[in-house]
Amino acid sequence: MDFTIDFTKEQIESIEDILQDELIDLGVQSVILMDLAGNVIVNLDSGDSSHDVFSLAALAAGNYGAVSAMANIIGEQEFSLLFHKGEEESIHFSKVVEDLLLLTIFNKNVSLGFLRLKVAEAIKRIQMLI
């Protein structure tokens, strides 16, 4: 059997600290670090929401794959940033490294611009860990 990137307990704890510090403390509802097979690696939330993270991750992996295939058709390697806006809550996807995605669910109290900045910072810090 093949395994995705093997994470140690310490790595997972450090990633959780980064996500808490950069995103949950900013007011984000929940964050999911996942692989493109749809596995959930880390998930944190603010305590105000109870999303079905496993189903979300499965659909997000499919969605990301579908959008990447669309990118290829128009001659792009990929769209590295995806964003779905809802009335109350929105979802932001960002690629961390090959095979890893960061999913952020946030409400209208968080501005998209600021969120993108913080996601970029979190990703930079996570990349240094793995």
Binding site: E13, A37, G38, N39, A58, A66, A69
Partner: protein, 201 residues
């Protein structure tokens, strides 16, 4: 690609139900969803198109308890069977750990089964996976149609067409009545999780 989370002591394993369109892949998952309700924490996710056909995939996570102190979550997926959705099938196969090939026993579907199995082999190759090396279970579905007088393929013919070289474990089944649906699932879980034990030690 199974994922081990050493902090939560949790393992996620991906099993995909593959096969020709209208073969009963979704019906397999629907039966599991009803039968094993207690082990399923979330609702089954299904992305359908007009006429109740699977457009993207179905998804059903199921908890099977603990192995070596790790809780094992099996993520069951189906692919869309229709020929035109090959790009989607490839997406769903990404990171697959085990496969159930759901073949249609109807006489008329003989060619479709063979083509779908060939398509599985090719799609696995795009992820550098070999159909001979991945845990695989064959399910010959719709055996119940014989009772209604609909011509079905003899088991020997299906074995010869699909399983003569693969030599995978196989089950005659009826996803509609649930016959051998659980047995198929238990077999693929046993094969897939068997290779995990060593890693968890």
């Amino acid at each position: 690609m199974a994922l081990i989370n050493p902090k939560k002591r949790e393992v996620q394993v991906k099993v995909v139900y593959y096969g020709p369109g209208r073969g009963g892949k979704t019906t397999n998952l629907e039966y599991v969803n009803q039968k094993f309700r207690k082990r399923i924490l979330n609702e089954m996710v299904t992305v359908k198109t007009y006429g109740d056909r699977t457009l993207f995939f179905d998804f059903l996570p199921i908890d099977i308890g603990k192995i070596k102190g790790h809780s094992i979550k099996i993520q069951l997926y189906t692919v869309p069977g229709q020929v035109k959705y090959n790009a989607t099938r490839r997406l769903v196969l990404r990171g697959v750990d085990g496969i159930v090939f759901v073949a249609d026993s109807m006489d008329l579907r003989r060619e479709m089964n063979i083509r779908s199995l060939q398509n599985l082999k090719e799609n696995l190759e795009t992820f550098n996976k070999n159909i001979f090396h991945i845990p695989l279970v064959m399910q010959y579905n719709k055996r119940d149609l014989a009772d209604e007088g609909i011509p079905i393929l003899p088991m020997e013919t299906m074995q010869k067409d699909l399983n003569s070289r693969l030599r995978a474990p196989f089950f005659p089944a009826s996803a509609v009545s649930g016959d051998n649906v659980a047995a198929t699932m238990k077999k693929i879980i046993a094969l897939t999780v068997g290779s995990l034990r060593k890693k968890l030690e």
